[in-house]
């Protein structure tokens, strides 16, 4: 029966039409989970690689400082930024505890969180220096102008 055949075909088509986006969805999901995993694995390997380099640098430094006079060790990457110095296990743990405590306390308090003084620290750059310069000049000359009132 031709009619039935056609009908059945149509029904199949209908069902296909409904299933098709779900198949698309599964495809998207597969690619999505796959790519995300690949990305995160590569990033994890990169991080591991950077850690190896860090460890190597520290070892080499330690050897060098052992050869020369025992001066205060200064690793390359922490010369300018004492805050970024390597943290030991204990330090890390202590930091975690400190944060946990601060979090626990935050529920009720509304402590100020910013460190504006920190943010405005100057660097060597020309614009920043320009700004700094202008300001320190003004401050300097102002200070002088004020103290100069006496002997003017």
């Amino acid at each position: 029966m031709i009619t039935t055949e056609s009908d059945s075909k149509k029904r199949t088509a209908d069902i296909e039409l409904e299933i098709e986006p779900i198949v698309d969805g599964l495809q998207v999901s597969g690619i999505g989970m796959g790519m995300t995993s690949v990305v995160l694995i590569i990033l994890a390997l990169s991080v591991r690689g950077m850690a190896w380099i860090d460890a190597y640098m520290r070892r080499r430094e330690a050897e060098q400082s052992a050869m020369v006079e025992p001066e205060p060790v200064r690793s390359e990457e922490s010369t300018t930024e004492p805050a970024e110095q390597p943290r030991t296990d204990g330090a890390m743990r202590a930091a975690a505890i400190a944060v946990a405590i601060s979090l626990a306390q935050r529920a009720n308090s509304t402590a100020p969180t910013s460190q504006p003084a920190d943010h405005k620290s100057s660097t060597n750059s020309s614009y920043d220096a320009w700004l700094t310069e202008g300001r320190s000049r003004q401050r300097a000359s102002r200070g002088v102008a004020q103290t100069s009132k006496g002997w003017r």
């Binding site: 998207v28 999505g32 991080v47 920043d128």
Partner: protein, 401 residues
Amino acid sequence: MSGEGVLDQILVGFEAIADDPRIVAMWVIAAALLYVGVAKRKEPLLLVPISMGILFANLPLGEFIRAGGEGEPTGILRTFQTVGLETDIFPLLIFLGVGTATDFSPMLSNPKTLLLGAGAQAGVFFALIGALILGALGWFDFGLLEAASIGIIGGADGPTTIFIATRMRELGEALPHIEVRDIVGATAVAAYSYMALVPIIQPPLIKLLTTENERRIRMEYSAQPVSRRSLILFPIITTIVVSVLVPSASPLIGMLMLGNLIKVSGVVPRLADVSENALMNATIVILGLSVGATMPGSIFLQPETLGIFVLGLFAFATATMTGVLLAKLMNLVSKTKVNPMIGAAGVSAVPMAARVVQDMGQKEDPDNYLLMHAMGPNVAGVIGTATVAGVLIAVVPSLIG
């Protein structure tokens, strides 16, 4: 103008309400979201502007969102949508600020936690397929575009949700043979609502999938310190790796990593300050209003909105569960055991998901400090969700094209 005309003028607001009483229903919804933000103090930064945006979009005559013309300028919130939302600029500026505020060092000191950021992304795709099934069943009018926008709710990341939902809507509007629903507002509200509810949604699911002994697992802090070199290289490497593998993710990842580089480099504190404060805060106000204004009653009060909220919750729940399960799987193959709860922190919702883990850990063992371990999957989840967003942007058009 006749006296009648003048009276018309006076009653015009009431007539608008009579014509479309849904706007009054939207006032109630706006008030409810505002209550959550202000009285319950959950996600107030976004919920206050979003709820006011909803109110503004549902005032009589819709002055805030009118199209403009004939000596009348375009409504301010519609202008904001055009210049900031549809161009991706607002979500990307938020990502810049978020990058400045994100600290990747817990993750860098324990690279394994990076992998855990992948597990929770499965929630995105469970919800995506769920939306497609509900669409196929004819319950809701969801196609692949809507499903992608709904799925990304499971990423638990507001700007990414807004980014994807806007992109999918634009894509559908550009294709003549596709009809697309405007669900930017609904998905954004769902995302922020469930982020606010993370401390309620996650704990029972985590308990369901873990034993008490597992929850008591302590994790040692790595003796591996993170150098300044690594902190600076990480955002650059991540930008390149993600962009080569998933080019469409590059705007989101790039801006996030730029913000982070600005902070960790330490040489441009002025730029870190502005990215994290003035620029981000101004963007939050305007973005929140713009997103809220995508919800006139006629668009939001649809059965599909209910479906979006149901699927959004499903997305958060499955993300939590797949996160925990990935962590348990990892314990099967690895010598050093992780506390499987930290897998649940992979849903992003920074830092609440991590705090949930910390709290649950201390409930079992008051001396167990999991927070910084949980921050690893937590921030990895942000990278993971941005990657997923890139895949959606890349693959969905080729499937519906």
